[in-house]
Symmetry: C2
Amino acid sequence: MSRTDAPRARSSAPTSRGTATARRIESSAVALVIQHGYDATTVDMICADAGISQRTFFNHFATKDAAVIGTDVPRLDESRVRAFIAASGPNLLADAAELIALPGLDGAMDPQLMRQRMRAITSSAELMQRQLERFASIEAELAEVIEYRLARLSTPDESAAEVREQSRLTAHLLAGILRYSADALMSGDSASVPAIVAQTRDRLTALLPKLAGR
Amino acid sequence: MSRTDAPRARSSAPTSRGTATARRIESSAVALVIQHGYDATTVDMICADAGISQRTFFNHFATKDAAVIGTDVPRLDESRVRAFIAASGPNLLADAAELIALPGLDGAMDPQLMRQRMRAITSSAELMQRQLERFASIEAELAEVIEYRLARLSTPDESAAEVREQSRLTAHLLAGILRYSADALMSGDSASVPAIVAQTRDRLTALLPKLAGR
DNA sequence: AGCCAAGCTGCAGTCACTGCATAATGAATT
DNA sequence: AATTCATTATGCAGTGACTGCAGCTTGGCT
C-alpha cells in the first residue's frame, strides 16, 4: 500500500488543452481514483481504461495527479473581484474569503466531471494537498486585488511598499483560511462546500476582533 | 534537469534516531544538496558519499528529502508556550507567531549541521515546501495552546466546540503567516530569520485592525 | 499524388522506493 | 567457549512515475 514517487517541477508543458483524448484520460483518471483511491491507481490502469499508451498519457499530462486535478490554472472570478474591490465593508478578510471559495477554483467546465473530480480530490489527502498547492498560483493576483482595498485603509506613515507587503501577508492568511476550509471539508463527515464557506466566514467574523485585540 | 519522483506517505517508519550512520547520511545529503541542488542530487550519490548501500539509506530515511530535512518532529518550545498562555495582551496572533518562529522548528541539534541544513532547505523550493508541510504536525498542538487564550475571549453565546474551531482556524492563519515569512526568507536577498520574524510581527500588528474592521 | 504538421506509439533508460532473504556484528545467555 | 539473538547492513529483483528519442499514422493542403 502506497506506491509513491512523482514530485512536482515538470519542465516543458505538455501539449493540448481540450483534446478529446485529454478529456478521455481525465475522466478515466477521475473514475479510477474514486474507485480505487489515488495510490492504488496506476498510470497504466488509466491508460488501459482510456485506451491509449502511457507515452500518450504523458504527452497530455505532466504528472499523474494532473490528470485527476486538471490542468487549467485556477483564476479569480472577474465579477467577484469587481464586487470585492468596490465594497468597503469592515469585513475585508471575510469578503476576500469568498474570492477563493473552493468551487471558484475550478475553471468553467463540464459540471458533471467537476463534481466527480471534487469527489476524487477530497478522497485523497495527497491530491487535496496538491490542489491547495495550486492555489499558490493565484496568490500574487489575489494580493494585487487586496491591495486596492488595503490602500484605502493605510495610515499616512505607511509606504506603498509596506501596503503591498501587507497585501501579500493577507493573501497568505487567506491561503490559511482556504486550508482550514479544506480540512473541514475532508474531516467533516458531510457538509456541502457552500455551507462550509459560509460557516468559515461567520467564524472568521467572530474571531478577528479577538485577534486584533478588540 | 529535474528528476522527479517520490511522494509522501511512507508506511512503516524507518529504524533508528541518532545512529552514527544516520548522521553520516544526513551530513552527506545536506552537503551534496548545497553543492548540486536537490534535484541533481541522487540517492546513489548520497550513498556513495556516505559510504553505505542504497538499501541502508532507506533503512534510515523513508524518503530522499527526509535525509536533508531531518526526521525529528518539530515541537513547540515549552517555555514559550507557557509565556504565551500566561500572557493576555491584545496581540494574540502576533504573540503566537513567536511560537512558530522558523528556528524553533528545529529540534536541538548540532548547530553546525542545522545551519547547513537551513541553507540546503532554503536553496530549494521543493524542500522548503516539504519543510512547511511538516509544520502541519504541530497545528493540532498549536490549536490546543491557542484555545487557552481564546477561551478567555469567548462570548457567552459561543460553545466550547466553537471556541475549539476558532482555535483551529487561528492555527491555520498562523500557518499562513509562517508561509509568508518563509517566502520573505527565500525571496528577500538577505535578511536574517529573527529580522524577518520581527518584521512580520510588526506588519501583522498594523494589518490586523484593518482586517477586523476596527 | 506529394507534403507536412500533429498526435500516437514503442522502447529503453533513470530514479525513488519496496520486499525479501541473507550476512555480519556484538552483546547476552548458558 | 559455544550458542543464541537482536540489530544493522547489504544485494537483488521488482514496481511505478517519468523522460528522450525515433518512427509511424493521419488528415488537411497544395
